[in-house]
């Protein structure tokens, strides 16, 4: 099918580039998240690999034109493997002075800079803290500046729609998007389709936005605004069906899939909190799958209800972020004693305390590992990329049911909101999650353990003959009766720990990307995967360097071969978005003199930060 836009003639041939990073930035009200998502979706459909980084303010809608009100969306799309949203944008679209001010320092020297000159009024300049207009003081000389009268041009294009100016002005993001589509030789039809669906019931808006998109494209073409335009060829991805997926969506889907494959009803007890709320939102749309979503009065009730649901035979899950986990720890302790399945998803954010709620961080590992009173070991998993959230959510459910235990799954704000193309998995290929509720009263003891996994029977209320009582007091081995016997207590503490340790038998051995032994092993976990992977791929190798990358998805218990793996390298580097938490674990556990690369700025590593550290270590060694 030949589309409208493909018919638009192109006057000049396009130049081919391997990868491009674009950042859209504007006021919270300017629709930058939408614009970025549209561009992403078009790039994905075209077959690029990509990664995105939305970045929005903590306020719902800070005052227009101010610095805290700036909202940004960055996407890297490429003809080859992409694992980060890009360190430094090649292109910056700045809808107002505040957006320029906040984002300019990140733009690549000589990068393309598109600004909406109509918003550079004295008032807006002042709000952004500019004394003089940067468009006039030569401060932008180092960039390829394209001043565009976005507001005026959009108004002109939509004049005949008869809409009021405020509504028309809201369409200027589509004008900008149209320009970007021209610059990167992209068809409009993907976005046109989206507009059609979205505004099916508001024909005036449908027309206006479509017009704006086309006008932007036409303007870029006609005004010969850019010297060249570019083509980023499709990436060589595995054949298959693809979609874009954010971490939160993937996580929600992983949970639904686990519910389906286990035959258990998925029960989510949750309380809204940034950046985890979207998982609640997603799952509340899956009622036809029998999923129950319970928005509780607080986090304590949320996890309590999830645990109660597990006791009654559902797959109990709770989703939250660090401050919410703080409130749940007492109940998680109860779950370790009750030995019931429970999945706790922590979508980490910047802290401590309320911290930086919309920013990313991975500083809740200690909390997951150690944040309970007394000895209450809990398995801890972490997803590495947005789409990996699917697999790890599924894994968390599998382990919870398999070992009758609460399980932590760690994600973070970057994974939650970032997106990447995802080859849609065939769920049937995933191992089924086997559940067998105890039915037989003969020989039933609530804490009699399965010899291999040490897990206890799941005997749900409603099963005749299995009436029994559980609780948070120490239990007698096997019978589960309350026991204050000293020896029994020690045995039970050790049994509970051993049960978790044995989970290591059911998880994959740690794999290494890159050299399988040598000078340096970079050990990461969670969302740093993209940056480390990119650094490994793009770093210029020096003679004889041998570097590996081990990315841990299982943080407790650790993979059985990890000690061996660590021993194969002279040096160990652990980059983390915290002050060195995994680092601490590796040092304590294996007595390796690992060193940390730590960043706590509410944003992910750039690949260059990783590369610089690797070089520093290897140079230090060499010198």
């Amino acid at each position: 099918m030949e589309t409208d836009t493909q018919k638009m003639k192109r006057t000049r041939p396009a130049e081919t580039v391997e990868h491009v990073t674009i950042r859209f930035a504007g006021d919270s009200g300017d629709g930058m998240q939408l614009t970025g998502n549209q561009f992403t979706s078009t790039a994905a459909a075209f077959g690029n690999d990509l990664a995105t980084l939305p970045d929005f303010p903590a306020e719902i809608r800070a005052p227009a034109g101010t610095l805290p009100g700036v909202s940004g969306f960055q996407v890297q799309f490429a003809a080859s493997d992409v694992s980060t949203p890009g360190d430094t944008p090649d292109v910056l679209v700045a809808m107002n002075p505040a957006a320029l001010k906040v984002n300019l320092e990140d733009l690549k020297p000589g990068g393309v800079l598109i600004v909406n000159t109509n918003s550079f009024t004295p008032k807006d300049l002042k709000k952004a803290g500019y004394e003089e207009s940067p468009l006039e003081d030569h401060s932008l000389d180092g960039y390829r500046l394209h001043p565009v009268e976005l507001t005026r041009l959009t108004r002109a294009a939509l004049e005949q729609t008869g809409l009021d100016t405020r509504t028309i002005d809201r369409c200027k993001n589509f004008f900008a998007l149209g320009m970007m589509y021209w610059l990167y030789s992209r068809p409009l039809d993907n976005s046109l389709r989206w507009i059609e669906q979205k505004f099916a019931k508001q024909p005036a808006l449908l027309e206006a936005n479509s017009l704006a998109l086309r006008a932007g494209y036409g303007y870029a073409e006609a005004a010969e605004l850019f010297e060249v335009n570019y083509v980023v060829p499709p990436a060589k991805l595995d054949p298959g069906q693809y979609r874009n997926v954010s971490g939160n969506t993937a996580l929600a889907l992983g949970l639904v899939a686990a519910g389906q494959r286990s035959g258990l009803r998925l029960f989510l007890g949750s309380y809204p909190i940034t950046p985890a709320s979207d998982v609640l939102h997603e799952l509340s749309g899956y009622k036809h799958f029998g999923v129950i979503t319970f928005q509780a009065e607080d986090e304590i009730a949320a996890v309590g209800a999830a645990l109660g649901a597990s006791f009654a035979g559902n797959l109990g899950v709770t989703t939250t972020s660090g401050p919410g986990v703080a409130l749940k720890t007492e109940t998680i302790g109860l779950a370790t004693m009750a030995e019931l399945p429970l999945v706790i998803c922590n979508i980490q954010r910047g802290g401590p305390s309320t911290g930086l709620p919309t920013k990313t961080e991975q500083a809740d590992l200690f909390q997951a590992l150690f944040g309970r009173n007394s000895e209450a070991p809990v398995p801890v998993l972490a997803a590495a990329t947005p789409s990996d959230c699917f697999r790890m959510a599924y894994e968390a459910c599998r382990i919870a049911v398999h070992a009758m235990t609460p399980v932590f799954l760690l994600s973070d704000g970057y994974l939650a909101n970032g997106a990447e193309p995802w080859k849609i998995p065939e769920v049937d290929r995933y191992p089924p999650i086997e559940v067998s509720f105890r039915k037989e009263p003969e020989g039933f003891l609530p804490y009699l353990r399965e010899p291999e996994t040490l897990s206890r029977p799941w005997a749900v209320p409603g099963t005749s003959g299995l009436e029994h009582r559980i609780g948070g007091l120490e239990k007698e081995e096997r019978s589960g009766n309350v026991s204050y016997d000293p020896g029994n207590h020690e045995r039970m503490v050790r049994l509970r720990a051993e049960k978790i340790d044995r989970i290591a038998a059911s998880i994959p051995d740690q794999e290494i990307e890159g050299d399988q032994e040598g000078d340096l092993l970079v050990v990461g976990w969670g969302s740093t995967y993209g940056a480390i992977h990119a650094a490994m791929a793009h770093r210029k190798r020096r003679e004889g360097d041998r570097i590996g990358h081990a990315h841990l998805r299982y943080l407790h218990p650790l993979p059985r071969n990890l000690e061996d793996v660590l021993k194969r390298y002279r040096r160990i580097l652990v980059p983390e978005l915290n002050m060195g938490q995994l680092l601490w674990v590796l040092r304590a556990r294996y007595l390796v003199d690992a060193i940390g690369l730590n960043k706590i700025q509410g944003r992910p590593f750039t690949e260059n930060e990783i590369i610089a550290k690797i070089d520093e270590i290897l140079e230090g060694d060499a010198s």
């Binding site: 979706s41 459909a45 499709p234 054949p239 298959g240 069906q241 693809y242 979609r243 874009n244 889907l253 639904v256 899939a257 389906q260 494959r261 009803r265 029960f267 899956y286 009622k287 036809h288 799958f289 029998g290 129950i292 319970f294 509780a296 009065e297 607080d298 009730a301 949320a302 309590g304 209800a305 999830a306 645990l307 109660g308 649901a309 597990s310 006791f311 009654a312 035979g313 559902n314 109990g316 302790g333 109860l334 849609i424 998995p425 769920v427 049937d428 009263p441 003969e442 209320p461 409603g462 099963t463 005749s464 003959g465 009436e467 029994h468 009582r469 559980i470 609780g471 948070g472 309350v482």
Partner: protein
Amino acid sequence: MSTAASERGMTKKDFQSDQEVRWCPGCGDYAILNAVQQVFPQLGIPRERFVIVSGIGCSSRFPYYMNTFGFHTIHGRAPAVATGIKLANPDLSVWIATGDGDALSIGGNHLIHALRRNIDIKILMFNNRIYGLTKGQYSPTSEQFKKTKSTPFGSLDRPFEPISLALGAGATFVARSVDVIGPHLREVLKRAAAHRGSAFIEIFQNCNIFNDGAFDTWVDRKVRDDRLLPLEHGEPLQYGKERKFGIVRGDCELDVVELDGDGDEKNLLRHDAKREDPAFAFELAHFGEDPTHPMPIGIFRDVEYPSFDGLVHRQLDEVRAAKGEPSIQKALSAGEIWQVS
């Protein structure tokens, strides 16, 4: 396979667990346990469908002594756990045993939210106006200026009136009974079981170790008849050994009158537990606070309203009916997808 309890006629014994009961000798909890064990076999519910959930406290040991499913959770959180159990399987009959500290102090929020949602769980609050298990600190129902372990010079908090709090939260079934008045307690328990929705029952319970005789002014055998006002839906508000006293609506409040037997009972207010407006029940709730008034016991309010668990499962069914058989594979492929070949 053993015969399911449900297939035999059940008795009190069927509800006794093999665990030794460990309350202080003379504790009011024994009487409550006894009443529950007597009532459960009469409810027509198979034993395996009962779940008793508790928090922490002397009263919260309750599940161990009942031969049903039981979960002795953590302090104050029983309503949260019970909510999950009931939502997961609405066929279960879910009961909570809790204390005045467990329910109203640390657990106050879960309690009022459970009541507002009207989830079908039955909450038995053992009110001994003291923290028993931690050995005698004052609780949110202790009278002001009480000397306790933690208030050697007298407590300064005003107490909650639990019935009022429950009504303020929108509870659909609210009642009060007494540990040692077995017939009354059993009757209230049965009515609570029959109610479809949350039921909140305050039970006056004597802690003979740390707060002995807390309710004596009302429940002591010698004064009981003259000091308790039994509420019966549709019946006049009348009490006293010879039913000589009654309640009438005064100028702005409820007044006690002495009946002269000349048929003046017909002027008495009639109890109405089914009134949608909770104001009347609320008025009665405070009535007992005045020491010159009798203490109302029985069911203050009992109105029908769809239960939360019922609504949740109806919604699941409706969405399923509208959207049809779900497929996880289809769900994964929702939205914009593309093919790479």
